[in-house]
Amino acid sequence: MRTELAVVGAGPAGLAASLAAAARGVHVTLIDAAEDAGGQFYRQPAAGLGARRPRALHHQWRTWERLRDGLAASSTVRHLTGHHVWCVERNSASSGASGRSERSAAFGVHALLGRFQDEPVTVHADAVLLATGGYEKVLPFPGWTLPGVVTAGGAQAMLKGGLVVPGRTAVVAGTGPLLLPVATGLAAAGVQVAALVESADPKGLVRRLPALAAKLPEAAGYASRLLRHRVPFMAGHTVVEAHGEDRLEAVTVAALDPAGRVRPGTGRRIPCDTLAVGHGMLPHTDLAETLGCRVDGVNVQVDDEQRTDVPGVWAAGETTGIGGAALALAEGHIAGRSIAARLQGTAPDPREWAAAASSRTRLRQFFAAVDSVCAPPAHWTEQVTDDTVVCRCEEVRAGTVREAVHGLGAGDLRTVKLLTRAGMGWCQGRVCGPAVAGLAGCDLTPTRRPFARPVPLGVLARTDHPAEADHTTEEGPS
């Protein structure tokens, strides 16, 4: 399959970029693992479930309608659904020029499709946009693996899929702006939200909130909705334990001191059957890492045009930093325009995207401010008992991680993984990475994952790779 621009990810960023590039005559292939466009934000209520009033949940519904209709009407954007991209390969022979034959395509986007994700498809492209979004960060605490404990995103997906059962009692906890829509959404769907527990320091919040609210009118809307649904807002608090035999029955919530330590004697038990917990988001950087793009901290680095430092590769949306749907839209739009110009061999004119650039600036500032306020408690690891499971795939407990660091000399995510197996399972450390880094006292560095998805050896072993025929390897077993 041959295209000019391959966009990986059909969330707000990928959609905006595809439409912006297509409007300038670029042939786009938009690839996403999901069955529908929309990404995390516009994930649609599954057809047939009859979710009520999607407008109430999707406030940027009209933007979404515009993107969705634009995609449907476009004859130059081909949307590949159910395609799981496992690797984007840079073909060494070509240097990002707009050659036409498969051999000279600069990139091969390798995907898997089918029910078992075992049918290989490769899209050959002159340019690539990485718009793979982010994933939720969850830190462990005793009891966090009990059924009934879900991620904030999981709760949101249940809501949008119309799967929430009214009449239940939920606690929403963690830190960050995602908790607000989750709490108000659950409340609006008839769930009793017993508390919204935010670990951010209330003083910081009070100091920052007005400025934040002014920058983002949405926030004020959430605040009034929380009031309307009488959701108790507990800032400066954290969930220290989830209780239950076979499933969640209650949580213990305690107050934090200014240093981020639990205040002794402040624990309070709140009965609930659902705990939606989230500690922010982390960008998906696997594909970018493997391409050799610079990743700074946890974000893919881009310039003003959303270009990475690898020629021919752009990135937009949450893969470049967590910042919400509106920012993803703005970045995607800019990327699409830049790509169109560059593919046509001209330098883009930034005035074309002045409005998007100014909202990008404003939103990045806003989220930087959010980040400075919303953080997990500084000493969260003190609450993690030795027998708390940290890596769910390999069932590695906190005590084992501590022993690897203090008893055996591990010092980073990689050596902890080697000595404990934490991060070696199906999720490849995406879930437990932040927890292990915290327990080990090391930085959360992006792990190299050349396979963004598990890939059958039979797919890897296929011999019809013309571009690679000249490759020779050396002999020997080890």
Partner: protein, 389 residues
């Protein structure tokens, strides 16, 4: 923080080799400090596999060292310390290796190799084509035959390094880069300098693996250690379906026939934890970390050729490491005659896990002034000097 320490010997490098040197030196009664700029097993030890092979070595000095090492590995694995059984902690498995040939020509070359190995003390059992599946039920059909090597075994390298260090009782200082090898006026070693202070000792062991050349240079001598990249593929966890280490002997024939297009010949093996490891490729590309899909595809091809069922099995991850190799493919082991007090234990290429115990044992003998159990002449650290001159 500035520390000033004194001990009998400083080992530079907390990889497999440094750990084994520390263990045997400590057992010889020496006070040992191990220094590494990173964590334990952060170098090549954490980026390779743990095959302890005799099967892939031609008769000669390396094979002798491998036989000694495998004996020592087996002894270590039997030990039950105060805290735990070492063998289980390091995931030691004496599972044996099966080398198979796909053609009559390949089988002839393999049979020849095995005959020579037997004379050197290797146990090698010829396996006719129709008995291969008794050993490995899922092998591909149509193979010409093979040789079974019961002495081939394995450990989990990072665990082995960490636990050998732990049981050695040596002082472990991680996160400290050695920036200088300190020497007295007459040129002999008196310790090392790190970013966190000096450590004084009359003996220093260079166990810096692929970076051994840089450490030698800190002592003013040259040691040509170079990187040779290798990728390993790791599958999803499976119930045991591959029982031994299995690899194809075709590379033996390829080398003999001097064929232009050499093949990767991956070792396929199951692990205690479930995943199958497929490794490893060999390339000389410097310290280039970038992912190479073609190389990994070649590994997968080789593995699927041996075990067709693997076609359906998923690779979860792949990683690369840099083997420390020397121009003649033998490590540098022993005292450096150019700098009294300096010992080298590096450059083991694709066999540094396997050869670690023998290396540590010989280094401890040399440190103690004892005659080494095997002749160290082939491993002399200054053997390349003459060529250069």
């Amino acid at each position: 923080m500035n520390t000033r320490l004194t001990c009998d010997v400083v080992v530079i490098g907390a990889g497999m080799t440094g750990a084994a040197c520390a263990l045997y030196a400590a057992r010889a009664g020496l006070d040992v400090t191990v220094v590494d700029r990173g964590p334990v097993a952060g170098g090549t030890t954490g980026a390779g596999e743990g095959n302890l092979l005799v099967s892939d070595k031609e008769p000669g000095a390396e094979l002798e060292l491998a036989l000694l090492s495998n004996r020592l590995w087996a002894e270590l694995a039997e030990e039950t310390g105060e805290r735990a059984e070492t063998g289980r902690m390091i995931e030691y498995e004496a599972k044996g290796g099966l080398v198979v040939a796909s053609s009559e020509q390949g089988l002839a070359a393999l049979t020849d190799l095995a005959a020579g190995q037997r004379l050197a003390g290797v146990v090698a059992e010829q396996v006719p084509a129709d008995r291969l599946r008794d050993l490995e039920p899922h092998l591909a059909p149509g193979l010409a035959g093979g040789v079974y090597y019961p002495q081939d075994s394995q450990v989990m390298p990072a665990l082995a390094a960490a636990h050998l260090l732990r049981v050695s009782g040596a002082r472990l200082l991680t996160g400290r880069t050695v920036t200088e090898v300190l020497r007295t006026a007459d040129g002999s070693v008196r310790g090392i300098r790190t970013g966190h202070g000096d450590i004084h000792a009359p003996a220093v062991v260079n166990a810096a693996g692929t970076w051994g050349g840089e450490v030698a240079a800190l002592a003013g001598v040259s040691l040509p250690v170079l990187p040779r990249r290798g990728f390993v593929l790791v599958t999803e966890p499976l119930p045991r379906r591959v029982r031994h280490k299995v690899y194809s002997a075709d590379y033996v024939a390829d080398v003999a026939s001097d064929s232009a297009s050499l093949q990767t010949s991956p070792v396929v093996e199951g692990t205690a934890a479930g995943p199958i490891l497929i490794g490893a490729s060999r390339e000389r590309v410097g310290f280039d970390r970038s992912f190479s899909l073609p190389v990994v595809r070649a590994l997968a091809e080789g593995a699927v050729r041996l075990f067709p069922f693997l076609s359906e099995v998923r690779a979860l991850r792949t990683y690369a490491g840099f083997r420390p190799y020397m121009p003649d493919h033998l490590p540098a082991i022993g005292p450096d005659p150019r700098v009294p007090g300096l010992f080298h234990a590096c450059g083991h290429e694709g066999a540094g896990i396997g050869l670690a115990t023998g290396t540590g044992h010989l280094i401890a003998q040399a440190l103690g002034g004892k005659a080494p159990e095997t002749d160290l002449a082939p491993f002399r650290p200054d053997r390349f000097e003459e060529e250069a001159a």
